[in-house]
Structure formats: C-alpha cells, structure tokens
C-alpha cells in the first residue's frame, strides 16, 4: 500500500538507487519509492536533482507549504495518464456556458449538502437547504458563487455553536488567520486541496480546467472545485473532533499580534488525525465495496470524467451517514 509522507521539519531529499532518503538534523530516513503516494513538505525542503528524476519517473507529486502552513505549490510530474479526447471534452464543458454552469452548480450543491450533514450531526437548525433553492434561478457563475457565499456564512455562524468558548470565531479571516479556528480551517483546507490534486494527477483529468472557480484563479483550479465537496467532510468534522475532545488546546498554536498559526506540535496532531481519516474506510453503497475517504475523492473524479464523456450525469458525493 502506498502512503502519504508528511515532512514536517527542514531537510534534504536524496536518492540512492530506488530509495529516497529524507535527511534532517535527526538523521537519515529511507523511504522506498514504491511506498510513496504523495509527499507533503511543511518545512523547507532541499532536493537533489536525482531525487526529482525518480519522483518524476514514478509519478509522485510533492506539495509544498509555507511557514504559515499554506499551500505554496506542487511538483506536479509530467502526466502519465493523458487522454486527448477527454481534455477536449473538459474544455468544451468550460467554454459552453450552459454546460459549465451545470457542473458549477453541482459542486455547490454537493458542498452545501455536506455542510448541512455536518450541522445535522450536532442537531443544529440551519438555513442551508432554503438558500440552496436559489441555485435553480442562477444563470451566471457569479450568482452561483453568491449563493455559495451565503450558505457558507450561515454555516460558519452555526459552527460557532459547536465550538468551545475559546475557539469561537468572530469572522472567517483567511490570510493570515487571526484566531485559532481560522488557523485550523486554513491549514486543513490547504491539505484537502493538495490531497485532491494528487487524486486528479492519477486520472486523465486536466487540473487546470475548472468550472466553479475560474481557471485563472489558481494554477490547479479543478482541485479547488472538487475540494469544496470534501472540505466539510475532511476538515470541518476533524476540527470539531479535535477541539471538542480537547486534543488541541491553546498550547498548539503560535500567536502573534496579527496572526495565529498551528505550531509544530499542533501540526503534528492535526496531520496525524487527517491522515487517519483519509485511510478510514466505509462500505460504499453503489459499489458494494469498502473504499477509503481518500478513494472517495478519486471516485468523484471518475464521476466527473463520465459526465464529460456523456456516459452518466454527475451527481456530487453527499455523506449518507
């Protein structure tokens, strides 16, 4: 089984034959190449070009995060799975406004319904499904985005009712986050984005053609689109779990006058629990097979491919539990 490797400290990636070594101040740790699915680099990482050659050959993406734990960029190896036919379809669904808006709405619908599930788990009344009705009348992407924004506002407001006093959020602030809950959301969201990008890499989808977000917004904007669906499931639920179980406390943050970040200790806890969630399996209703949360993302990509190929209309993943 291939695994994600999370490198939290500064260090160097070197290659010797078919093994890469992560060298840091504590020593040298070997990672056999066929065990690596993706690498997440949180410290500053130096590469030997030999290591890059091997990662490229094996098709292993590396995601880089900056000091704040934000996503900085990825080493996205040359595509191994390419389908000219699919790329043309992908572009066609972007260029044709009617086709584009259908997909954009589905992403918002999926994201919203998952947010609703999160709140429902805590028996919180909310307006999400009412606001979602407005989606039907939207003809422009900006209108779709607007509905999404209103839903998110309602969602974050309700989220406060789940959080302990010291974790409550006054407003959602992204860059840099100024309180603990914003720090957790930002940190988690950039992990999901990277996880989604790795899944896209393992399909024929082109990550730069997106539908809800503008392709110009970020280089891999399709990962932004698909992340929307998984953020409530993978990040928000994890945050409630960590905070309400008192697994995270003020000690796990580094605070400054105008920003608040997870410190090393906090990151370690968050990443460990996040990775465990990715590996957790559920019995999939349609497939009648066990699949991991991580695999759910891949399946979402497959559903999108089928939609683009006109073989089955896309319906977004919504938690059924």
């Amino acid at each position: 089984m291939k695994k994600n490797y999370y490198l939290l400290s500064d260090g160097l990636l070197k290659r010797r034959e078919n093994t890469v070594y992560f060298v840091n101040k504590d020593g040298k740790k070997p990672i056999p190449i066929n065990k690596i699915y993706s690498i997440y680099a949180y410290g500053s990482l130096t590469f030997s070009s030999q290591a890059i050659h091997l990662l490229a050959k094996e098709g292993i993406p590396v995601h880089f995060f900056n000091y704040y734990g934000y996503y900085d960029g990825s080493f996205y190896p040359r595509e191994k799975l390419l389908s000219g036919d699919l790329i043309i379809k992908q572009a066609e669904h972007y260029l044709n406004h009617e086709k584009r808006i259908i997909i954009a709405k589905k992403f918002v619908e999926g994201a919203s319904k998952n947010m609703e599930k999160v709140l429902k788990y805590y028996s919180l009344e909310n307006k999400i499904s009412t606001i979602l009705l407005d989606l039907t009348g939207c003809n422009m992407i900006t209108e779709v985005m607007n509905v999404e924004g209103r839903i998110r506002a309602n969602y974050y407001q309700k989220m406060n009712e789940i959080l302990p006093e010291n974790f409550k959020m006054e407003k959602r602030v992204k860059r840099p986050p100024e309180n603990m809950i914003n720090a957790l959301i930002s940190f988690g969201n950039s992990m999901v984005y990277s996880t989604v990008l790795s899944e896209i890499y393992n399909t024929q989808l082109n990550p730069t053609i997106s539908y809800l977000h503008e392709p110009s917004e970020r280089r891999f904007s399709l990962a932004l689109d698909l992340s929307e669906i998984f953020k409530p499931i993978l990040v928000d639920r994890l945050i409630f779990y960590l905070v309400n179980k008192r697994m995270l406390s003020e000690d796990d943050f580094e605070k400054n006058l105008n920003y608040c970040l997870l410190n090393d200790k906090g990151r370690k806890k968050f990443i460990k629990e996040y990775d465990e969630r990715l590996k957790k399996t559920i019995k999939h209703r349609e497939l009648n097979r066990k699949v991991s949360y991580k695999r759910l993302i891949r399946l979402e990509a497959y559903k999108l491919i089928k939609h683009l190929l006109d073989s089955k209309e896309y319906t977004p993943f919504v938690m059924w539990w």
Binding site: K80, L81, L82, S83, G84, D85, L86, N202, T203, Q204, E286, L287, R289, V291, R295, R298, L299, Y302, K303, I305, K306, L309, D310, S311
Partner: protein
C-alpha cells in the same frame, strides 16, 4: 523506443482482446481512459509465466512483447501463456492478429500460434488460414465502429469484479 507500427501492433492486439471481453473496456482503453494501477491479476499472470517457463529463452521480434515467447523450429512458433483454462476467443484472435501482422508486414511464412495452459498442461495450436484472415479484418473494422461511437454503457458481468475499471464503470 517502439516505432509507431510496433506500438500500433500492440494496441490493436489489446483491442482485439478487449473486443471479445467487454466493449466498454475496449472503448475506454481506446480513448486513453486507462486505470493507473496494474491489477493484481496482471502480476499473477506474469508470475505464472515466469514460474512455468523459466528456462525458455525470451526473445522478441520487432519488440513484439505481447507474445510471451517465441521459438524457432522448422517454423516460427508464437507462444502465449494463459492462466485460465478456458480456450477463449479473445486469446485466439489476439494471437491470430500477431501472426497475420508478421506474415503480411514482415513476410514471414510458416508461422504457428500456440496457446499454453500450464495449469492444465495443455497446448492449443492455432493456424492462420484465409477465412480466419477475413474474419480478423471484419473484427478490426467493427472495433473501429465501437470506438467511433458513444461509449457503450457497461453491462455487469462476472468479470467486472476483477476488472481495473470496476469503480469507474459502477460509480
């Protein structure tokens, strides 16, 4: 590097195989929607080949690697090794295609195709005659028809469970 005609040879060989197995698989493969993982079955096939035919000297003509091994006796023998014990049309026609290719494009006369079923200690010899050649041409034409149309809807079969496209087809 494989030359274009060698690549084409291998692709058509696989397409013929899929044509008999599943049209959805044929369509997806032909449109380069391929799944990333080598299924366990593929490696099992490889293992079986290595175990049962260890001392055969493997060599290839034209990088024709889809054939498991080749023997030169009084005629040229193309050998395929199969793990299932059923004589399947897909195996037969895939091999027939390689024979046809060697005959037609390389001018090699006197070719024999042999499918080995090591589990059963059985061998089946396949000959390329004119009627088989005609049939082969029809199949290749029909493959074109399948590919140039809409993707065929998957139909659930027993083999789906072990197919690399399982999740893709049934999600």
């Amino acid at each position: 590097m494989l030359s274009d005609s060698e690549k084409e040879l291998r692709i058509i060989g696989t397409q013929i195989n899929y044509y008999f197995i599943c049209k959805t698989k044929l369509w997806l493969f032909s449109h380069h929607i391929q799944m990333e993982q080598e299924s366990e079955l593929v490696s099992l096939g490889k293992l079986l080949h290595q175990k049962s035919y260890k001392d055969e000297k493997e060599y290839t003509i034209d990088n024709l690697i889809s054939v498991d091994f080749i023997k030169k006796r009084d005629c040229l023998e193309l050998h395929e090794v199969k793990k299932s014990n059923k004589m399947e049309k897909s195996h037969e026609y895939q091999l027939l295609y390689y024979m046809y290719y060697l005959k037609d494009k390389k001018g090699i006369e006197n070719i024999k195709g042999i499918i080995n079923y090591p589990k059963m200690r059985k061998k089946v010899t396949i000959d390329l005659d004119e009627s088989k050649e005609m049939e082969l041409m029809d199949i290749i034409k029909d493959i074109g028809n399948v590919i140039n149309n809409e993707a065929p809807k998957p139909v659930k079969m027993k083999i789906c469970k072990k197919c690399a496209y399982y999740e893709f087809c049934w999600i």
